[in-house]
Amino acid sequence: MDGFQSAIPAYEGDLHVVAAAHHIVKALGTTKNLSDDLRKILIDLDAHLSTITSNIDNKGVRGFFDVEERLKQAEKKIVSWESDQKMIWDSGPREASEYLEAVDEIQTLIDGLRGLSVNENRKQKELLHRAASVLQMAMSRLEEELIHMLVQHRQHFEPKHMSFRSTRRDVIYDESFVSVEDEPAEETSSRNCSSCSNDSDEFIVDLVHTQVIPDIKSIAKVMFTSDYGNEFCEAFIGVRKEALDQYFAILEMRKLSIEDVLKMEWTSMSREMNKWTWSMKIIFRVYLASENRLCDQVLGNVGSIHSFCFLEISKETILSLLNFGEAIALGPHQPEKLLRLLDMYETLTDLLLDIDTLFSEESCSFVRIEFHELLGRLGDSAIAAFKAFGLAISSSGSSHPFPGGGVHPLNKYVMNYIRMFPEYCSTLNLLLKDQHADFPNPVLELDYGQNMSLSTSCPMACHLRSITSSLESNLHKKSKLYKDEALRHIFLTNNIHYLVQKVKGSELRLFFGDEWIRKHNAKFQQHAMNYERATWSSVVSLLKDDNPGSSSMSKSTFKERCKGFSIAFEEVYKSQTSWCIPDPQLREDLRISTSLKVVHAYRTFLGRNTTHIDDKCVKHTVEDVEKLLLDLFEGSPRSSRNSRRW
């Protein structure tokens, strides 16, 4: 290399001086009034200078001779690989570095030749042309090597192994609201409530094996210095974009048209929404963060090229994710979508900072803007779904009484659904802040006017109570469908008890508060008492002594009362064994209190009239009654004749 630098400038310097002298001589020669002698001297000088020029020129050609030799060497190296089947970088580090040296050499020669101000030299032009040809050959080759390297050394990482998957909320309440009336809802196990993962951890992985990064960088460097930067970018973007496409497919993300999304059934939609939530995290936090680092590693020092490439690689995938979000935000906001929408909203909220950082360049501003706007629309959609949820609860109607008076599916659905809300507390508070909670029952609000802790007064708590209060009024509406007053009370006992249990047994209690729980405990107990009164008062009244003063009643009255009691009791038995109190504790409590009342009255009644007792008129012993009462509320109709306890 040094030879080149020393040979050329010396030659060039000489040429300049001679040319200047020649010029002066020629100028002098044109002067009129010169003596013949002088004119002759000038002519000689002119001839002499011409000889010098041609001598120097020859020397220059000799200077080019060295250049040509070096070009030949480098050319040989590059051309030899053209017929080789192997990839250079696969053949070993020595081959690769020799090849790069050869390319460097050509680049240096080209720079040197171009740097010459004398452009008229034929040899110079010829060499330059030849060098450029070899350079093109090398660049084309390097592009192939680059693609090969990027493809061969791609690293695969399994999305399932990413650590934040385990902390994902994984119990999904997927049931559609519509199905509530049709079939009793299954109790769902509670959502994984383990504390949310620290999502801010960085999960950067190597998308391309670290060992080849220096090689890729060296190719980038040489292609950019040779002014083949565009070719490098095209190849790099092409391969990386395809890799992202494949990754998108690995995540099982389908490309869906907006029309498809709008027409989608709830179960598939819910699945897609979950996938989106999950993919957004993994794509932005892991994949694109890693891609960004790769671009930075490879192109970091080449101006803003790195962010250009990064955007080109990620754009289509980003648009896909964006459009799914848009499609969801467009759709009708059915109540069952609420939790999924909140998931999407929360995920995007979490990711906005990452998005802003990854796409901080001015040219990427649209990515940031689009996602910020999408967040707003998802928030609006969540609010709409929340309202739809409330509306669906209050308007959910049925024409038939729920058999057995058990816990209504609507109640189960709603309570299991809202049990998830505390996990979304901060988001819901944010979204519901400006939404007025309409209390169908203003009294409730008054009750909560004082002594409210922070958690019971937050927007979500108000909305929760609003939801349960419309649920309660709906249940009251449903209870009116029962003709039997006692069953109506069983229904309300069951359902309000269920409501309270759900609140007490979950984080909901923090939002409803002790006062609410006390009130509602009292409510269902009141209904239980009302049940007892409605069912048993008339039965027990048969056993009452009309004439407490006398020692015993007449035998015929006794017989009549006995018979009346048996008939009434059997009637109750027959119907109320088919009634249902699903909660064992509640069932037990109600049986005990019934037992206390009825058995006690019966025992007293029989005890007072021992003289009249004979098998014919006393159909049931005290023990029989006690046992039979245990069959009530089991939800399986019996008559006293086929009772297992009979």
Partner: protein, 388 residues
């Protein structure tokens, strides 16, 4: 943007009038006047698009700047349309027949056009890719003298360019593209290897989605209102639908798009409607153009793309036969083509990203309007059918 300016004043006028209208409890004549004005504006705007000013060659039919004007027209018409239908109007008015049927149909078309916007945005990415390849060719050939190396470099880029352009509409939808192997097993002595890697065109829209079918289905139920309806609010709904279909159709014709077989099939717009004359003119022009090119398989009618294709092909021929230093005549001719290609690249560089942004704006506008209409329909539904 003059269109936007007078749109503003138009909206102002409508709102003022609407207030008066309400005060007068529904003045039918005012409404007729509004409708007439709307039709005239539609007619004028499309007339401008049909005969672009001769002195601005960049504004040629289906050029980038023409498409941007078309989208401007769409946005203006859409704003006016919404003003006529919604501004100051009692929701119950648009939730009764025939609007209770026509508006949901319009909204259905709106959703369909969102997918088209996405398809076209994705197509513009491939146009941008072409631009990048053309820029490589320009930088290789834009020197004097051209060397063999640079000629080969240009050829390589141009061959890629042409194959990206001739990429079949359907291929992108094919999942195979993601499995394509980048194999370099057979490295022959071929100096001008054709590019084995073409940046894959992965479509934005679903697998079996078809732009042509989408537009076809947008024209379902698209019938001009007759009789009494023709003078009522059914008329602007029809006009807006036709504009929407036309704009989406023109975009799909100009920009690479998933599956466009049979795109040339016209959707019928009755010739006797004054406002539609220019639009029909445009439709015929674009349709003819499409039929001419359809068989060859092509990137789209976008003026810049077509120019690029023509120049690209001719420059491939040039580089094919080129041997340093080349024939003076041919080199001169090529230099002119390179200059033209450079100019086309420059126009793309200036216009493509803004065009993409504008399509996104159209997308968002359609979304917003749809929401507004749904809200009004819901309100109207409530008031006309009181809850039992």
């Amino acid at each position: 943007m003059p269109a936007t300016e007078y749109q503003g004043s138009f909206l102002g006028r409508i709102s003022i009038r609407r207030n008066q209208v309400i005060a007068m409890d529904g003045n039918h004549e005012q409404e007729l006047e509004d409708l007439e004005l709307f039709q005239r504006h539609v007619s004028d705007r499309f007339a401008d698009l049909l005969s672009p000013p001769d002195d601005v060659p960049a504004d040629a039919l289906l050029s980038i700047s023409w498409l941007r004007r078309l989208l401007d027209v769409f946005l203006c018409c859409e704003a006016e349309f919404k003003a006529i239908l919604l501004m100051g109007r009692d929701p119950s008015q648009i939730s009764k027949p025939p609007l209770d049927r026509l508006i949901p149909e319009l909204l259905d078309r709106a959703v369909k056009s969102l997918d088209l916007c996405n398809a076209v945005t994705s197509g513009l990415e491939s146009v941008r890719h072409c631009q990048k390849l053309a820029e490589i060719a320009v930088s290789a050939l834009d020197q004097n003298p051209i060397g063999d190396g640079q000629a080969r470099r240009a050829k390589k880029a141009l061959v890629s360019l042409i194959s990206v352009m001739n990429h079949d509409d359907n291929e992108g939808a094919n999942t195979k593209s993601t499995e394509r192997s980048w194999s370099f097993g057979r490295r022959g002595g071929n100096k001008d290897r054709t590019p084995e890697h073409l940046r894959s065109l992965s479509w934005q829209v679903a697998k079996n989605w078809s732009a042509a079918k989408q537009i076809q289905s947008m024209t379902n139920n698209l019938v001009a209102p007759r009789g009494a309806e023709a003078t009522g609010l059914a008329s602007p709904v029809y006009i807006m639908s036709v504009i929407m279909v036309f704009v989406m159709w023109a975009l799909a014709a100009a920009i690479p798009c998933q599956e466009r077989t049979g795109l040339a099939t016209h959707f019928p717009v009755p010739k006797q409607l004054n406002w539609a004359h220019s639009m029909i003119g445009l439709q015929e022009k674009i349709g003819d153009e499409w039929k001419k090119k359809e068989k060859k398989g092509m990137a789209g009618l976008l003026e810049e793309t077509q120019k690029m294709e023509k120049l690209g092909q001719s420059l491939i021929e040039f580089t094919d036969s080129f041997q340093f230093p080349g024939e003076t005549e041919k080199v001169k001719e090529a230099a002119a083509q390179v200059a033209e290609l450079a100019e086309t690249c420059r126009r793309m560089e200036e216009g493509l990203v803004p065009l993409q942004m504008q399509i996104r704006e159209v997308f968002h506008r359609i979304v917003r309007s749809r929401t507004e209409f749904l809200d009004v329909l819901e309100q109207g539904g409530k008031s006309s059918a009181p809850l039992v």
